[in-house]
Every structure is written in structure tokens, then in C-alpha cells.
Symmetry: C2
Subunit: 357 residues, 2 copies
Amino acid sequence: ETMKNILILPGDYIGPEVMAEAVKVLEVFKAEGEPIAWSFGHLGGAAYEAEGHPYPPSTQQAARAADAILMGAVGGPKYDGLPRAVRPEQGILGIRKDLGLFANLRPALAYEALAAASPLKPELIAGLDVLIVRELTGDIYFGQPRGRRKTADGHDEGYDTMHYSVPEIERIAHVAFQAARKRRRRLCSVDKENVLETSRLWREVMIRVGRDYPDVELTHLYVDNAAMQLIKNPRQFDVIVTGNLFGDILSDEASQLAGSIGMLPSASLDANNKGLYEPIHGSAPDIAGQNKANPLAMILSVGMMFKYSFGRTDLADRIDAAVRKVLQDGKRTGDIAQPGEPVIGTQEMGAAVVDAL
Amino acid sequence: ETMKNILILPGDYIGPEVMAEAVKVLEVFKAEGEPIAWSFGHLGGAAYEAEGHPYPPSTQQAARAADAILMGAVGGPKYDGLPRAVRPEQGILGIRKDLGLFANLRPALAYEALAAASPLKPELIAGLDVLIVRELTGDIYFGQPRGRRKTADGHDEGYDTMHYSVPEIERIAHVAFQAARKRRRRLCSVDKENVLETSRLWREVMIRVGRDYPDVELTHLYVDNAAMQLIKNPRQFDVIVTGNLFGDILSDEASQLAGSIGMLPSASLDANNKGLYEPIHGSAPDIAGQNKANPLAMILSVGMMFKYSFGRTDLADRIDAAVRKVLQDGKRTGDIAQPGEPVIGTQEMGAAVVDAL
Ligand SMILES: CC(C)[C@H](C(=O)O)[C@@H](O)C(=O)O
Ligand SMILES: CC(C)[C@H](C(=O)O)[C@@H](O)C(=O)O
């Protein structure tokens, strides 16, 4: 077996804290003889401070060379005043585009042990298991032209271009159909076809690609309706596929349903399943440096890495099982504790997972 | 007092059914001597069937001449196969643009009597009262250029232009700040300033206009975060202001929170408070023609018309009070009934409101 090289980008605020616990998990597997090695780099605010850019050349080189990347979380108030070009989110957008990480997989999962933490009524989310497949390198995020221009009557206006090409839609469609095939074989494509030209093409291509997957049921929803249905009856969904902008909004909405945003990992994959893995939650400046953050989303991101980039579903399953075990044992960080439940710290939670492994 | 002329556009499926109940309310006020008169026109699928276009010239003329417009709901499966240019939604988009109805006000309100109908836990939505102010004639909905083009490497792509000019942002900002001033004096502007040029200008202008309203607290949220916060803690919001596309998504999401989408009216206003008033819900083809639809959103839309277009808050308040009374009396259409509660029909609900008036 060839050695797998992992680049670790801890990031900002709670990023390094949750990453430290993920590294403990890597150490367990390394000690068992798994061929993994890792090194550290900078991304986001930390990168700007160390090297003057949120996605500096050193990180770029290391990221291109790595077999997979783990990222903590980036951004925060310290960096809000920076010029736009060097703000932390430019680091994220830069690495996604540079590595061609076009397929963002974001599961929204209800953990039985945490049902009480959901804002939704328990009967609506029991057993919830939705996978959102978000296109991540196209759409209005990178569309040209964009900027400022004058209107016909001489006023300033800001503008951006939303766009998707046929091959861009095709490749994310295949990722989504294939994911659905491994699950409950239902795919819902979300667009705004009644208004947008981009969505018209999106829907056409989805339907065409769908012919290659007769075993998967394809449906379509307008994005406004999808935002409603996710609240009204989230369990109607198996896999949702959508563009970068709608995916940004819907996946964040979905992450709240189960009341477990501190538990949700994500994967951003290129065409060869090289990926960047990160929690769905942000850098949580309010609790940074206090050993309070929930490291489980970061640890589950390690699991996704083993599954998607290294083809090691066995190790991913072990991580999943360990996380379920610590939850069943009643271990809770503050974000997932109910009033009155005893709370443990980031490091204790990491240690508990290591024990359970 | 001069006569107020109301154009009534019943629309498709349940549209005419709920409109019939709203007309009963108009009749009450007319009988009391209010100077109102009304006439009927076509919009959406009904207009296409009758006159070959979803926003035909006859409706255009009548709409321009009217002092206010009441609309039921348009669209539905019957019209899905039509060429895009004559689909019902083109009727809606057409009338909005033609009349310059740039300010869409959509309240999301929790009725105490209906708390059990919400997908959210009752403690999260008790007393919820959020007003979403959505810009309605700009953004990517009408932006040029749009269509199909070739990418540099020869592939087909679909594209659209998002844009906002300074005056467009200014006028919706003033509407929102003024609304906030009459409420709890908090305004949250939603954008995607970390990615979009349009949003950068949006935020700049919001901040600038905000200086005219030092008594209103202005905050900003990214749209993805707003979609989360609406579920996590909806009561943190007073007024939300956002663009056409984000407003489409967030207002539909918000409409679900209180579990009362059959109860929510909306107003779409021009610069002189001429407006189009319609329920937030759609045309509900599944229950059309069965005397099952909830007419309360349509009736409350009549209330908004009196308040915003005719300056008659007193009549709006009477309608609100009548609706609260019928709810307190336990009157329920199917959509707002709990299992076991007796259900009444559209016409019975309308009659109950008329009685309560
Ligand atoms: C930070 C921001 C640019 C980013 C996005 O919009 O993609 C974030 O919201 C996300 O979802 O990863
Ligand atoms: C029918 C459609 C064009 C419309 C919109 O997107 O504005 C609808 O969703 C709405 O919110 O009124």
C-alpha cells in the first residue's frame, strides 16, 4: 500500500482546537499500521497572518501534492476589516477552485441521542438522513463578468453573472445520481427554472443524465419550495442536488434541522475523489480557546476522508460507530447538551472517541 | 372621499374560491358605506385560457387604472407544459414589473390558536412576528444579459445577470427602515457580501441609508446564515430586508415556521403605495374545487390593502380582529386543524369572518 499524505489546515478560532482532536484519531489509525502521514499548513486568517495571503503559495503547493486535506474552520471578526482580496473566505474559494473541488457533499443527519436538540418537533426529524450535493466551483460564485457598471440612466450598479455549462452540470449530476444509487435511490434537483436561464439548462441536463440512471427517481423543486419543504417535511428527501448558490443556502438551512450542526461533516471532491474535508460549522469565535467546541464534526470529517478519498469505508464506519457510542454514553459538549446534562470539553470528547475506537 | 377602484384577479385553482370569500368582506364594507368598487380581470393560467396571455392587455389596462389589486393565486399543472413565455408565472412577473411593484411585504406571524400546527417547537415560535421586505422588480429576475452562450472551450452554457443599482437599493431600504420604525426598530439586511459584487453595493447603500434612521438598529447577515437563524431562533428578527432572489427563498422558508401558510397575506407596493395583495400560499391544485381551501390569507390580504393602499388601518384592524375571533372560536379549515378537530369549508370560514365583522 502506498502512503497517503494528508494536508492539515487547522484554520482560525476553534479550527485548531477541533483539529487537535481529529489528529488524535489519525494517530490511532497510524499506530495500527495504516499508511497515513500528515503535515500542517495555513488557510484563511491564520494564513494571512503567517504568510500575507489566505491561500498562500506554500499551501497551494502542499494542497496540490496531498492525497486529501482536512480543514478546521476559517474566518472571524479579527479579519472582517481586511481588504476583500485577502479575507479568509477568499482562501476557501481559492482552494476549491484551484483544486477543482466541484462536488460538495453535506449530510444532514438526525442522531437519535440528540433529538431533543432540534428546533423541529421530534416526530418530524426522527431518522432524518438527507444528503445535499452542492456544486462548488461554478455558478455566480466565480461567474464573469462581475463588478460595478453604470445603468443606462447613469447610476452605479453592482452586478454578477450566474452561469452553468453543460459539462459542469453533467459531472455534478453523475455524482448525485451515483450517491442516490448507494442510498434510497431518490434524487431531487433544485433550481429556479421558472425564472432563470441557468436553471433551464440545469434542469434539461439533469433530465438527460437521469436517463442513465433509470433506477433512481428524479424529481425537481423550485428553490423557494425546497426551502419550505425542508422545514415542513424534511424526511421526504433522500439526495438533493443543486448549484453553488442555492446549495449554500439550503445546506445551511438543512444543517439546522437536526439540531446537530456541531456533528455534521462535509466533503468537497474533485473528479478523482481527492477531497477537502471540513465540519459544516464555522469558526465560532465566541467560544474559541475555551475547550468548549464540539470536535465530532471534525472527527466525522476524517471518517468521510477515509471513505471517499481512500476507499476505506471500514475505517469510516469505525469512526461513525465510535461517535455514536460516545453519544449513547451521554457524552455532551455544550452545543448538544440539554439543560441539566453534564457537559465535557473539546479534549475530553476527543479522548472519549479515541477510547471508543 | 373619492371612490377606490379595486381590480380583482382570482387566478387559478383555489384562487377563485378564496377570492369569493374576500369579496364577501368587501361587500360588508361597501354596505357600511365605504367608497369602494371592484371589477374582475384575468391573470395567470386563467388569463392564458381566456385571452391567450398570462398578463393580457385588458388586465394591463385595468391594473394601471386601479387603485389597488387583489390576486388569488396563479399557476398549476394544467399550465406546466405551456411555452415559457405564456406560463402563469410570466403573468406575475409581468404585472410586478409593469406596475413597478418593487416592495414586497411578507409578514410571518404565529397565531397563538395555531401554535400546534408549526413544525417548530412551540417555545421557539410563540409570539413570532417577523416582517420580510423583499425587493421585487430587480435582481437576477429581470437582469440582462441572460440566455445561452458558448464557453471559451465551446460548450453550451446558460447564464443570468444579478444586479442592483443604487436607487433600487435606496428605495427598498427606505421602505424597510420605515417599516422597522413602526415596529420594534430592528432591521436585518441579508446579502452574500462575502462573494457577490451586487451584495457589496447592497450593503454599502443599506449602511448609508441607515444613517437617516439612527433610531433603527441595522444588522447584516449572509443569506446562508439567515436561512439557519430563521430556524434556530426566528424570534431574533423584527424586519428583514433583502433582494428579490434571496427574498423569494427566505420568505417561503419563514412562511413555514408558524405552520400557518394558509394564514399569511402579502403586499407588493409601488412608490405611491398602490399595491397588489395576495396570499403567500399557491394555487393548491390538489384541493381545488372542493371547498377546502383556507380563505383567511386572502381575507387578511384585503386588510393589508386597506392599511397600505387606502390608509385605513382601522378597517385592517377590524379584519385582523375578526380573523383572530374565528380562530379563537375554534373554526378550522383542514390545513390548520389538528387531528380530531372539526373542519369547516372555505365558504363557511368566509361566512364566519363576515359574522365576526
Ligand atoms: C465562506 C463562504 C464563501 C462559503 C460559501 O458561501 O461557499 C461558506 O458559506 C460555505 O458554505 O462554505
Ligand atoms: C412564481 C414565481 C415567479 C414567484 C417568484 O419567484 O417571485 C413566486 O415564487 C413568488 O414568490 O411570488
